[in-house]
């Protein structure tokens, strides 16, 4: 359905959608502005997804390339950020699938199965077994939280990152991940339960919770 005017098409209120429409008409400055607006956000999310900043930058560049090539056929049906992160999610999944086939990256799946605990779980178990009540420094805490995050599956992790760092609503996350809002609600609930399960022992003992992030 084609809508004209911001009164009928609310996505046109998105300034980034308007920039993209200008890029569609050939305005290179507009596209450069979009890259500048989103580069940190995109690299930030992808770096947590891939746990590798270099790979995150490469992938972010690929995302912008895809958007640039699609500019002539661009039709604003959603917020620009939703579209951008949808592409990012798809490319990240493709990358991890290809890397998994080449056995270059150990994939973290939700069920460790008969192989035993995943590296993240092992880290948490080791830490709790060694000195469960000592104070952790910031680096250790960061590693622990990263390990807990890595125990989530791909969709859970992306949903958590988009919700936490991009402050996306359930509706926007649903559009980015090609799910229904009800499915996102369920997904995030399970993800947060999993995080709680991993981090609660440290919160209870007042160790993690006692260190304030800088």
């Amino acid at each position: 359905m084609k809508l004209n005017g911001t009164e009928e098409n609310p996505v046109l209120r998105d300034p980034d959608v308007r920039l993209m429409l200008r890029a569609k008409e050939g305005d290179q400055t507009a596209f450069t502005q979009l890259v500048a607006n989103y580069q940190d956000r995109l690299v930030g999310v992808l770096a947590h997804m891939l746990q590798n900043k270099e790979a995150a930058e490469d992938l972010a560049q690929e995302v912008f390339l895809r958007i640039f090539r699609a500019r002539h056929g661009y039709e604003p049906t959603a917020k620009f950020a939703t579209w951008l992160f949808r592409i990012a999610n798809n490319l990240a999944n493709n990358l991890r699938r290809d890397a998994g086939r080449r056995k270059e990256i150990v994939l973290n799946v939700n069920d460790s199965g008969p192989l035993g605990p995943r590296p993240g779980e092992r880290l948490i178990a080791e830490k709790s077994g060694l000195m469960p009540s000592r104070q952790f420094d910031k680096n250790e805490m960061c590693a622990m939280v990263q390990a807990a995050l890595s125990t989530l599956n791909e969709k859970q992790r992306m949903a958590v990152l988009l919700h936490k760092f991009e402050e996306m609503s359930y509706t926007d996350i649903a559009a980015a991940l090609d799910m229904s809002p009800a499915a996102v609600k369920s997904l995030l609930s399970r993800a947060r339960d999993n995080l709680r399960e991993k981090l609660e022992p440290y919160v209870r003992q007042g160790t993690l919770g006692s260190i304030q992030p800088e």
């Binding site: 690299v43 560049q61 805490m141 960061c142 359930y170 919160v203 260190i211 992030p213």
Partner: protein, 174 residues
């Protein structure tokens, strides 16, 4: 004991959505009533909230200083050097189709050559019989001809060696 009753899956989901501000007014009111009466629910909300806040300690990764410039440069280079993704896809499919056509033509040519070769070198018994039809149809008469050696059919061999029948066939076909 209602305070210690376990939460259902739906209630747990609604607790998360409540923390995220994603519930409508009616559902929010319901959750707040549950929190007021359920110790389990209050504990759940507390833990969910505090472990969620832990994510704030994660480092903030930023793009390198040259990222925008490098990205725009690579976009322009990609635009100038090669075809678009659609063009590349078309070229790839065209090349694949061309390869398949070439292989089909090659197989067809091999099949034709094999057929022609078989036709030329493999003797066709039916054709041989057709060529000898005149002789075969009069064989009973020829067998009555007695050759000097007494061997039956000898005179036919002599005539064949002199290509008498070949000449006859050539003349009759004209």
């Amino acid at each position: 004991m209602a305070k210690l009753m376990r939460l259902s899956a739906e209630q747990r989901e609604n607790l998360t959505a409540y923390l995220d501000g994603e519930l409508d007014e009616a559902a929010t009111h319901e959750i707040e009533q549950m929190l007021a009466s359920s110790e389990v629910a209050r504990h759940e909300v507390d833990m969910l909230s505090r472990t969620w806040d832990m994510l704030s300690v994660l480092p903030t990764h930023k793009a390198s200083g040259e990222f925008t410039r490098k990205t725009i440069t690579s976009l322009r280079a990609a635009e100038q050097s090669g075809p678009s993704a659609a063009g590349r896809a078309f070229y790839k499919n065209a090349r694949r189709g061309g390869t398949l056509t070439l292989w089909a033509a090659l197989l067809g040519a091999c099949g034709y050559l094999a057929f022609m070769g078989a036709n030329h070198w493999v003797p066709n018994e039916a054709e041989q019989l057709l060529q000898d039809y005149d002789i075969i149809s009069n064989l009973d008469k020829y067998s009555e001809v007695i050759s000097p050696s007494g061997r039956p059919g000898e005179f036919l061999e002599v005539l064949s060696s002199k290509h008498t029948f070949a000449d006859h066939d050539d003349h009759s076909s004209k």
